[in-house]
Every structure is written in structure tokens, then in C-alpha cells.
């Protein structure tokens, strides 16, 4: 049983077309809790998550997991802001990562059906995934990400453009996952959601970490002026 954490970022950065999207970052994350990445649009929240997950190419620096990079890759999952629906049924979508990990079709479907029920999609297993509503899609994406029991789950604004009820349901699922020991790193725009879920906050601005503190400390009174301005609802740049 190897652990991913602590993970260390040293000078890690992502570039695209000559501009640096995020970094260089020096950061260390510990094994427990829910890290919420905050910051205005374009601060590099998505790039940070993608970089850590390994789907954005590291333009410099290094990311050191406590285990080998290969092990780290297979024990994480990512939920995208726009959930990607494979053109198959709800059940087959959730079963897909299990099939990839070598589970038989029959077993994968049994596990996937349970996972679907866990997120409240139990009665629409045979529906084609591309025809789901926004909230249902996000729940499907969550079920698909969690079905392999990852140690670490990245979420990129999982509740953007969802209504209150769907948001509440998603947060319940996230709380349950965190309770089962899945480490969550998520970005959000929703300050209320950040307060409800975060145990730790990363405040990003212009691709750099301005503040990295516990949730109580951050929401109690941010130590940098920019973060405080952001908390007050001002436009920061």
C-alpha cells in the first residue's frame, strides 16, 4: 500500500504558446482533507489541476509524489468542468474504467450498477449518457471517477452551471468520498461551496499561489491583501 502524499511541486509550471499559464509553483500538499483552489478567472486553477494530474505537460520543474509517477497516475481520477460523456449507456460509462483495469464485463457491470445507485442514477442505467441533464452528467462523471476507488480525485469546478439541488447532491457525494478517504483537490468559483467543503485553501492569482492556508485561517481573514479583496468580492487582477 503506497501513499501518494505528501506531494511536492518544485518550480512546476505549464506553458502554452509561449505564455505561462501557471507557475512556477513551489508547493507541498499533505495527505488529508479537501483542498479548494480559489482564484479569479484565468488565475490558472484548471491548469494547476491538469498539471498535477499529468494531462497538461509539465513545462518545467518537477512534481514528486510519495510513490512512483506510474503508481500516482493510476490512483487518481479527474472530473472535468464539462463532463465528458462517452456515447454509451450510463452503466457502460461507469463500467468503462473498471473494464480498463481488467475486470470482466459481468463483474464490471455489477460494480458499476452499485456505483450508479450510490450517486442516484440507479434508475437510468440504460439511458444513453449524452442525453442526460447537466446535473446527471456531473453525477455520472463522479461515479465514473470514483468507481475505481482512487486515492486522489481532482475536480474542476464540478458544480459550475448546476442548480442548487444538483449542487447539494454533488456535495453530498463529495463529502461521502472524502469520508471514505479519497483526497479531494477541487477548484470552484462558488465561495459558499468553498466554505462548505474546504479544509485547506489554495488562492491562485496570475498563475501563482498567493496563499496556502487552512480553511478557517483563510476565511477568518486572509493574510494577503489580494486574497482579502477576493474574499470581499472585489475584482482582483
Amino acid at each position: 500500500m503506497s501513499n501518494l502524499f505528501p506531494v511536492k511541486l518544485e518550480g512546476a509550471l505549464v506553458r502554452r504558446a509561449g505564455t505561462t499559464l501557471v507557475g512556477p509553483l513551489n508547493l507541498e500538499l499533505q495527505a488529508n482533507g479537501v483542498t479548494v483552489v480559489l482564484g479569479p478567472n484565468g488565475a490558472g486553477k484548471t491548469s494547476l489541476l491538469r498539471m498535477m494530474h499529468g494531462i497538461a505537460r509539465l513545462g518545467g520543474g518537477r512534481i514528486d509524489w510519495a510513490c512512483s509517477p506510474e503508481e500516482a497516475r493510476v490512483s487518481q481520477a479527474f472530473v472535468f468542468q464539462q463532463p465528458i460523456m462517452m456515447r454509451r449507456s450510463v452503466l457502460d460509462n461507469i463500467a468503462y474504467p473498471l473494464r480498463l483495469s481488467g475486470l470482466s464485463r459481468v463483474k464490471a457491470k455489477v460494480v458499476a450498477a452499485q456505483a450508479a445507485a450510490d450517486v442516484g442514477l440507479g434508475d437510468m442505467l440504460d439511458r444513453p449518457a449524452p442525453f442526460l441533464s447537466g446535473g446527471e452528467r456531473q453525477k455520472l462523471a463522479l461515479a465514473r471517477a470514483l468507481v475505481t476507488k482512487p486515492k486522489l480525485l481532482f475536480l474542476d469546478e464540478p458544480c459550475a452551471s448546476l442548480d442548487g439541488r444538483a449542487t447539494r447532491e454533488i456535495e453530498e457525494i463529495l463529502n461521502r468520498a472524502a469520508g471514505h478517504g479519497t483526497r479531494l483537490i477541487m477548484s470552484t468559483h462558488d465561495m459558499g461551496q468553498a466554505r462548505r467543503l474546504a479544509t485547506e485553501v489554495l488562492f491562485l492569482l496570475n498563475g501563482n499561489v498567493y496563499e496556502h492556508s487552512s480553511a478557517e485561517a483563510f476565511f477568518g481573514g486572509a493574510s494577503t491583501a489580494k486574497a482579502q479583496a477576493f474574499l470581499n468580492g472585489d475584482i482582483v487582477e
Binding site: 494531462i55 456515447r87 454509451r88 444513453p128
Partner: protein, 233 residues
């Protein structure tokens, strides 16, 4: 008036289940469906590979394949003829003037077409799936499998386009098959022959049978794929 005579002729040929007609129709189907099966087995994975994989000659490959879609069948026929003729490199196989030679020619003609259409369709699907499948640590083979399975409706269209081109093709199979009665004669070559002889009504009749068969095969494939499940992709 000739059209009318053609329709009547086709009607009689069908009603009486003319033995020659049944024979050449079945041969047409055999040659084209076999060619389609082989071509699809080659072209669909290739189209997916071109969508998934970034390699140096990728653009060139795609450009060449697109250009090859317009490959003149007669030229393909000629090349296959030279290859299979007694003095050619594959002459010992004795395949010239056989249905197998016709299948080979048709495969060469429709592979580029199916690859191009399949690649076009799967490229879009891949841009949807890219992040997810990368995130899930899929191997290249797994990515290709996912694209082929989830893109099957679009791929059906690609294959049907290949069928359409192969079933109506006459230049290449005339050259390599030779239009030999009871051996390599198919609907299209029979039509060419009857037209040459001035038997327009019979030629037209055969033509209508050919059209009807092409439509029937298309419909059949669509029905089969729709009953399969979901039916909306």
C-alpha cells in the same frame, strides 16, 4: 419509352427469378460484400489510428489518402492485372480472371474512401474523448477500441459509402475479371455488355435490379444496426 421497357424487363426478370440474373446478382453481392468486409477491417482501425496518433507523416498520410479517394478504377484494375498476370509477381497464384481478383481490386479502390470518412468522423469523437481517455491512462489500442465502438454509427456510414462505390464499380472488375459468363460476370459488367450489344431494355432492367439491391442492402444494414440498441448514434 426505353425506360418503360427497362422497367418492364426488370419486372419480368424479377418475377420469373431468371436464373442468370440470380447468379450474377449473387456474384455481385459476394464480390462486393467480401471486398467491403476486408476493406472495413483494414480501413476502420486505420482511420481510428490516424485520429488518435500524432506522428510525423500524419498530415501527408491523410492528404494522400484523400487524394486516393479519387483513384481511377480502371487504373487500379490495370495495376492489379499486371500484378496478377502470368508474368507478374503474383502470377503463380493464378488469380487473374477470378472473383478473387475482382475483390482485390475493389478493396484497393474503397480502402482510401473508408479510411478518409472514418478518420473524419473519429477525429471529432477523439477531440471529445481526448482528455478523459488520457486521464484514464488508456493505451493506444484501448483508445482505438473505444473510438471504434462508440463511433460505430458514423463508421457504418463510412462502410456504406464504400459499399456504394464498390457495387457500382465497373472499370476495374471488367479489366481483372474479364466479364466471363458464369464465372466473373456481375451486374455492372453485364450492363456494360448489354449496352454495347444494343440491348437497352435488358441493360436497363439489370440497372434497376442493381439500384434496388443497393437500396435493399443499405436499408438492411440500417435496420440491423438500429435494433442493436440505443439507435441514436
Amino acid at each position: 419509352m426505353e425506360i418503360w421497357a427497362g422497367i418492364t424487363e426488370a419486372f419480368w426478370l424479377l418475377i420469373t427469378l431468371d436464373a442468370d440474373l440470380v447468379e450474377i446478382t449473387l456474384r455481385s453481392l459476394y464480390v462486393t460484400l467480401t471486398a467491403l468486409l476486408i476493406a472495413s477491417a483494414i480501413a476502420l482501425p486505420l482511420g481510428a489510428l490516424l485520429a488518435v496518433r500524432r506522428f510525423r507523416a500524419r498530415r501527408l498520410t491523410i492528404a494522400v489518402l484523400n487524394a486516393l479517394m479519387g483513384l481511377p478504377p480502371v487504373v487500379v484494375g490495370l495495376i492489379v492485372y499486371v500484378m496478377l498476370s502470368r508474368s507478374g509477381p503474383f502470377g503463380v497464384l493464378g488469380l487473374l480472371f477470378t472473383p478473387t481478383a475482382m475483390i482485390i481490386a475493389q478493396v484497393i479502390i474503397i480502402v482510401p474512401l473508408i479510411v478518409s470518412i472514418a478518420h473524419q468522423a473519429l477525429r471529432e469523437l477523439w477531440s471529445d474523448y481526448h482528455d478523459l481517455l488520457i486521464s484514464m491512462n488508456t493505451t493506444q489500442t484501448q483508445r482505438i477500441q473505444a473510438l471504434l465502438w462508440d463511433g460505430r454509427r458514423a463508421l457504418l456510414t463510412a462502410s456504406l459509402a464504400g459499399f456504394g462505390r464498390a457495387i457500382g464499380e465497373v472499370g476495374a472488375i471488367m479489366v481483372v475479371g474479364g466479364n466471363i459468363d458464369h464465372h466473373t460476370r456481375v451486374l455492372t459488367t453485364a450492363i456494360a455488355l448489354e449496352t454495347g450489344k444494343g440491348e437497352f431494355a435488358l441493360a436497363l432492367g439489370l440497372g434497376f435490379v442493381l439500384i434496388a439491391m443497393a437500396i435493399a442492402v443499405n436499408l438492411a444494414i440500417h435496420v440491423i444496426s438500429r435494433t442493436e440498441r440505443g439507435g441514436r448514434w
